[in-house]
Symmetry: C2
Subunit: 364 residues, 2 copies
C-alpha cells in the first residue's frame, strides 16, 4: 500500500510498503483493487504543500520537504503513516460475517475507502456499490467522488433556489461531467476556462456558454451569459485570486440593472462555492456588489451528511446507470503502484492539468 507520513522534522515520506491485512469486521469486505483514480482530492493527503519538484526519488519511496509552518498545522497527523487513495474498484475476495458482507463475496464493486492505492483494501459494506457484469474495473473506479460532487453541485444550486450554474476550470473531468448532467436535466451552465482550446473542447461537447477568462471582453461575455441564464451560483476549484469576485461583480451588474440603485446593492443573492485549491494564494474579493452575497467552501462529505434522506441512494442509482456515459471518466495514463512514485509521474499528475488524469492499476 502507498502511505504518506509527515514528520516533525519537516520530511514528508511517501512510500510503497508491505503491510499485513487485518481480518475484515462483520460489515466489512476485502477488495482486490484493480483500478483507482488519482483525484485532485487525493493529492492533498498524498503531498499537501510538499516540494515535490526538489524531492528525493528512489525505488518505492519519495522524501520531500514541507515548511515548518505547514508542519505546525499538522498536529495529530505527524508521524502517522496515512493510507492514500479515496476510491477504486475491484473484486471482493473476503467478507465479514454479516449477510450484507457475504452477499458481496466474489462480486466486483466500486468503493469509497481509505487506502485504495494498494493491492488490497478493506471497505465498509455501506461504502461499496456492486458493479453490473458489463462494467469493468476501470469504468467503475471513479464511481463516487466526481459523480457525487457534480450531482451535489446541482442539488446545492436547487437548494439555494437558483436555476443555473457558473463553473470555473470547467474543462476538467469533473467539469465535463457537470456539463453532461446539466444537458440531461435541462439546466443552463456557464463554463469558464482559461484557453481557446478549452472553449473549443466544451463547445464540441455541446456547451452553449463557454468563456475564456483571458479574453479582453471576458467581463462583457460573462455579463451577457448571466443575463441570459440567471446563473447566480458559481462553483470554483481555483480558490486563490480574484476570479470568483469578478463573477459575483458580473452577477451584480445584471441583478442591479432591473432592481434600480440602492446603496446596499441588489437584493439578488449571489453565491460562490470554493471546492478546490488549484491556486493556494489568497481569495481576493474586490466587491462592488453590496451585501447580498455569500462565499464559502464546498466539500463532498459534509454535503452528503446534510443531504435529505434518500438523496444519496437516488444519486448513486443514477450514477450506476450512467457509468459508461454521463459519469464516465477519461484517463490519459495508467500507472502501477511503483510507477506512481516515479518523478515523471508525480510531476505530471500533481500539476493538476486539464485533460491529464491518472489511473492506478495496483495489480499491474
Amino acid at each position: 500500500m502507498i502511505t504518506s507520513t509527515a514528520h516533525a522534522d519537516g520530511r514528508l515520506v511517501v512510500e510503497l510498503v508491505k503491510s499485513t491485512m487485518r481480518d475484515p469486521g462483520p460489515n466489512e469486505v476485502v477488495i482486490e483493487i484493480e483500478a483507482a483514480p488519482i483525484n485532485p482530492s487525493d493529492l492533498g493527503l498524498l503531498f499537501g504543500a510538499a516540494d515535490v519538484a526538489n524531492a528525493e526519488y528512489s525505488d518505492r519511496k519519495i522524501v520531500a520537504s514541507i515548511s515548518q509552518g505547514v508542519v505546525a498545522s499538522m498536529g495529530k497527523r505527524l508521524g502517522q503513516a496515512m493510507p492514500v487513495g479515496n476510491e477504486g474498484a475491484g473484486r471482493v475476495v473476503a467478507a465479514g460475517d454479516s449477510e450484507a458482507a457475504q452477499a458481496l463475496l466474489g462480486k466486483r464493486v466500486a468503493c469509497l475507502a481509505f487506502g485504495t492505492y494498494a493491492r488490497y483494501c478493506i471497505a465498509p459494506v455501506g461504502a461499496c456499490m456492486p458493479l453490473s457484469d458489463d462494467i469493468n474495473a476501470e469504468e467503475g473506479a471513479a464511481a463516487f467522488v466526481n459523480p457525487l460532487t457534480a450531482l451535489g453541485f446541482v442539488e446545492t444550486m436547487k437548494r439555494d433556489g437558483a436555476k443555473a450554474i457558473i463553473h470555473t476550470a470547467a474543462a476538467s473531468n469533473l467539469g465535463q461531467m457537470l456539463l453532461r448532467i446539466c444537458q440531461e436535466d435541462g439546466i443552463d451552465i456557464v463554463n469558464i476556462v482559461r484557453s481557446d482550446e478549452q472553449v473549443a473542447l466544451l463547445r464540441g461537447l455541446g456547451a452553449k456558454h463557454a468563456l475564456n477568462m483571458k479574453d479582453d471582453d471576458y467581463e462583457a461575455q460573462l455579463v451577457a451569459a448571466i443575463a441570459e441564464t440567471e446563473a447566480y451560483v458559481a462553483f470554483d476549484p481555483i480558490s486563490g485570486g480574484n476570479q470568483l469576485g469578478r463573477i459575483l461583480n458580473a452577477m451584480e451588474t445584471v441583478a442591479s440593472r432591473d432592481e434600480g440603485f440602492t446603496p446596499y446593492g441588489s437584493n439578488t443573492m449571489k453565491r460562490g462555492y470554493i471546492y478546490g485549491l488549484l491556486d493556494t494564494g489568497p481569495v481576493v474579493i474586490d466587491r462592488f456588489f453590496g451585501f447580498s452575497w455569500q462565499v464559502g467552501g464546498w466539500l463532498l462529505f459534509p454535503f452528503l451528511q446534510s443531504a435529505e434522506p434518500g438523496m444519496r441512494e437516488r444519486l448513486q442509482a443514477r450514477i450506476m446507470a450512467g457509468l459508461k456515459t454521463t459519469f464516465a471518466s477519461h484517463y490519459s495514463q495508467r500507472v502501477t503502484l511503483r510507477e506512481m512514485l516515479s518523478r515523471d509521474a508525480v510531476m505530471a499528475y500533481n500539476a493538476r492539468r486539464t485533460g491529464e488524469k491518472f489511473l492506478v492499476t495496483p495489480q499491474g
Copy 2:
C-alpha cells in the same frame, strides 16, 4: 428636506430643499421630526464614494465629484433626488384615515422611513413605534437600525447553531450595544478593536475579551479567546483587508487542535458576516482553514424579511423597554439640517470615527 442627487456628468449634489408635503395615505402618518441619527448606513446614500474633502460647500448645498466608474453603476438612481435619513423620532401631526393611523395622531413615535433629515416626514404606520411619555425624541431617535442590527446578530448566531460571537470595530455605538445585549443574555463575545484606548473603554464596560488587533501577540490572544468561548461566528463592518480571514484562521487553529489532521481542514463551520464597508478595498482571505467556512454580507432588511413570524415584534418590545439602558445611543454632536451640510460637520461624521456620532435636530 435633505436630498442627494447623482448626475450622469459625475456631480453629486446634496442639498437642503423646500418641498411640498403630499397628503398621507390611509395607513400613513406625517411626523414632525425632532431628532434623527446619522448612522453609517445613511452615509452610503448621502455621499457614497463622492470626494467630499474636495467638494464645493455653500449654504444648504454641497457639490462633490464621483468617478465615472461609480456613475456607471448607479443606473436608475441618476438624476433622482433621493431623500436621506433612515430613522428618527418626532410627533405625529397628521394621519391617514385608517384607525391605526388615527390612533397615532398627537403621539411621539420612533420611525423607520425614507427622508428623516427633514422637518416633516411620511411613514407607514407599521414602521412606527409609539414612545412612552418618559422617552424624549433624542432617546427614541435611533430605536430601529442599531438595536435591530445588534439583536439580529445574536439571532443569526443562534440560527447558525453557534454559541458565541466575535465582533470587529467593537468599540462603536453598535458594538457597545451588542456587548450590553450579550452581557444581559449571558453570551460570550470577543471584541476586537484597533487601539489600547478602545480596549480600555470596552473593559471598563465589563467586556471580558477585548483585543487590540495591532498587538504583536494579537493572533495568540485571539486563539486563546476562541478556545475559551467557542466563538465561530464573526461580524465585521470593515470589509476590506485581511482581518476577517485572520479571524477564520484563528478559529481553524482551535478547531483542528482537537479534531486531528485532515487535508480538507476541520469540520467545524466557521462563519464571517460583513455588514459594513469601513474599508472599501478588497476582502482578502488568505485561508488555511479548509472547506468548512462561509463569508458573506449581512444587512438588516433581508434579515428582518427572513425572520420567523413574531420575531420582529419580540425584538421591538425588548428595544422599547431598554431605550434608556441597553439600547441607548450616545451622541458627540447635534446639528441642524443646515449645519449638517457644513464642511466641518461632513468631514467629522463621514469619517465614521469610533465615539463620534451625530444627531440631526431638524426643528433647530
